[in-house]
Amino acid sequence: MERSLRRFRANKIGLCALGMVGLLAVIAVAFFVLDVLGIPWPMDPDATNLERKLLPPDSVNWLGTDNLGRDVFSRLLNGAYISLTVGFVAVFVSLFIGVTVGAVAGYFGKWVDKLIMRFVDAIMCFPTFFLILTAVALVGPSIFNIIIVIGLVSWTGTARLVRAEFLTLRESAYVQAARALGQRGPKIIFRHMLPNAAAPILVTAVLGVPEAILAEAGLSFLGFGVQPPQATWGNIIADGKTYILDAWWLILFPGLAILIAALSFYLTGDALRQAVETRSERQ
């Protein structure tokens, strides 16, 4: 634990990435609060101004304006909240399902394991993004639906990981000892096994966030995601693609935002994995 913390601190890239994640989180929360309080800053993200449409970045609109004269910078800040919410909550949903399913399969083994894992295999056969697209098309696009759908289709990796961890943990001496002590099954799963699988679960969780962010951006870009006028990074790009030759700022900045967000989470997750990795100790 302490060693993992020390290793994480020594990883400069990981620290920068974590800082970036923190910054994004602060921005998202701050602008959500400002928006709710009705004091949008620097401008109202939804206010149109047709006299100032499609303007390149200048001193008034720092990142330019779109075809309705809305301020791109304000819309980006506002979109951060959607992206991060979708990212975190969807991962939470998928973790909940994945950990439960994987734990049951790994702990009970035998036919329970076979049945569950074949089901997981079947789900993994579908291309994830099209599964999400179909599901959203069926239930209708809203932030809530998107979160649930992304969570519902992305738990398979976690389930497989947790199952593998549990298959190993099940044979460990302290689980044997807990059984010899007369402890009941659920208690063994949640008290003795789950905490020992926490590190890899945390890593997949962090690596799952950018997947969810990218999925949401993709959905919004295709028009199946969060609906206008609510700004998200995906639909800003979608709106801007018509003007791609005249207004590069409409594509570039939201694209950069997505890139930075996804990259920060990936790098954080990667650094985290290296920090908790006990198998490949290189000291």
Partner: protein, 321 residues
């Protein structure tokens, strides 16, 4: 002698694998009286640990199958117990300590939390759990138990960890303590300390101990009776002192000759010729006959029975004289 607390009769355990079936334990019978210490001695794969785990049905089924026999705890059949009674039996009546103390403790919890869990499971009446933890840690010889109980397992030495395991087992106040090679993973000096501790606790608590070991050397220190296992069978069952002074079965004799003894002039140690038979490929007739110096022509045909040849001494060999 009063009614034995634990009776095992004709226990047969198989491991059913995909391509073959392995006879891990065949026809094992023994009894454990209250306050008695029985040692089960045998090489790796002789079935001693399997027997110990089977006592509370801890063996994973499948692959293990208890094919026959009877296990009675306090007169009640373990084979027919439901899950709830089994959980009460495990830890509460029959407690285990295992070979590797360093892996038998959960690395993410403190000593206090783990012993506390055991106490809350089996002794609902205890109100001051912490005091009870301190009492047992003290009983197993841990210095400054009130401070040590907040330690994590990795902060303790191997000997300390094993003491914690023993404290955890004893805290549930079991009738039988099953010690499955409790000293194998420890240094020789620590081994002696742990054995001394077990012997002292046994006298103080009047508890039955089933000691599983491959080391004949520690048997004399602590055991009242000894069961020697070879290839899944008990080949000799005898009071410890008598067995060590005058082993009757050729395997026990060979085993004793292969252990160095203090005080004896430099004799060459005698290895037992041949190898332990592979599991599931036991020779016909007596399972020891290919390696036995006293083997006769009919040993490969007829499987010998465990016979009481002297009062309290059972031997599975017709040619023990």
């Amino acid at each position: 002698m009063s009614q034995p607390i634990l009776q095992v009769r004709n226990l047969c355990i198989d491991f059913v694998l995909e391509d073959r079936t392995i006879e891990a334990v065949k026809d094992a019978s023994f009894e454990l009286a209250a306050g008695e210490t029985l040692a089960i001695v045998g090489e790796s794969g002789s079935g001693k640990s399997v027997t110990a785990l089977a006592l509370t049905r801890l063996l994973p089924v499948p692959p293990a199958v208890i094919k026959g026999g009877e296990i009675l705890f306090d007169g009640e059949s373990v084979m027919t117990m439901d899950a709830a009674r089994l959980r009460k039996l495990r830890g509460g009546k029959i407690a285990y300590i295992f070979q590797e103390p360093s892996t038998s403790l959960n690395p993410v919890y403190t000593v206090r939390s783990q012993i506390g869990e055991a106490i809350r499971l089996h002794r609902r009446d205890v109100t001051d759990v912490d005091a009870e933890i301190v009492r047992w840690l003290d009983a197993v010889g841990i210095v400054d138990p009130a401070a040590r109980m907040h330690d994590y397992p990795h902060q303790l030495s191997g000997g300390m960890q094993q003491r914690v395991m023993i404290a955890m087992a004893l805290a549930c106040q079991p009738d039988v303590l099953v010690a499955d090679e409790p000293t194998t993973a420890l240094d020789v000096t620590i081994q002696a300390q742990i054995l001394e501790l077990l012997r002292e606790l046994k006298q103080r608590l009047r508890m039955s101990i089933l000691l599983i070991t491959h080391n004949l050397g520690i048997v004399g220190d602590i055991a009242d009776r000894v069961a020697v296992m070879y290839a899944g069978q008990i080949v000799e069952l005898s009071p410890a002192r008598a067995l060590l002074q005058r082993p009757l079965h050729p395997y026990t004799q060979a085993l004793m000759n292969s252990v160095p003894q203090l005080g004896h002039e430099l004799e060459r140690l005698q290895a037992i010729p041949g190898n332990v038979p592979n599991l599931g490929q036991f020779p016909s007739g007596c399972r020891f006959h290919p390696r036995c110096p006293k083997a006769q022509s009919d040993c490969s045909q007829k499987a010998p029975e465990l016979v009481e040849v002297e009062p309290g001494r059972w031997v599975r060999c017709p040619y023990w004289k």
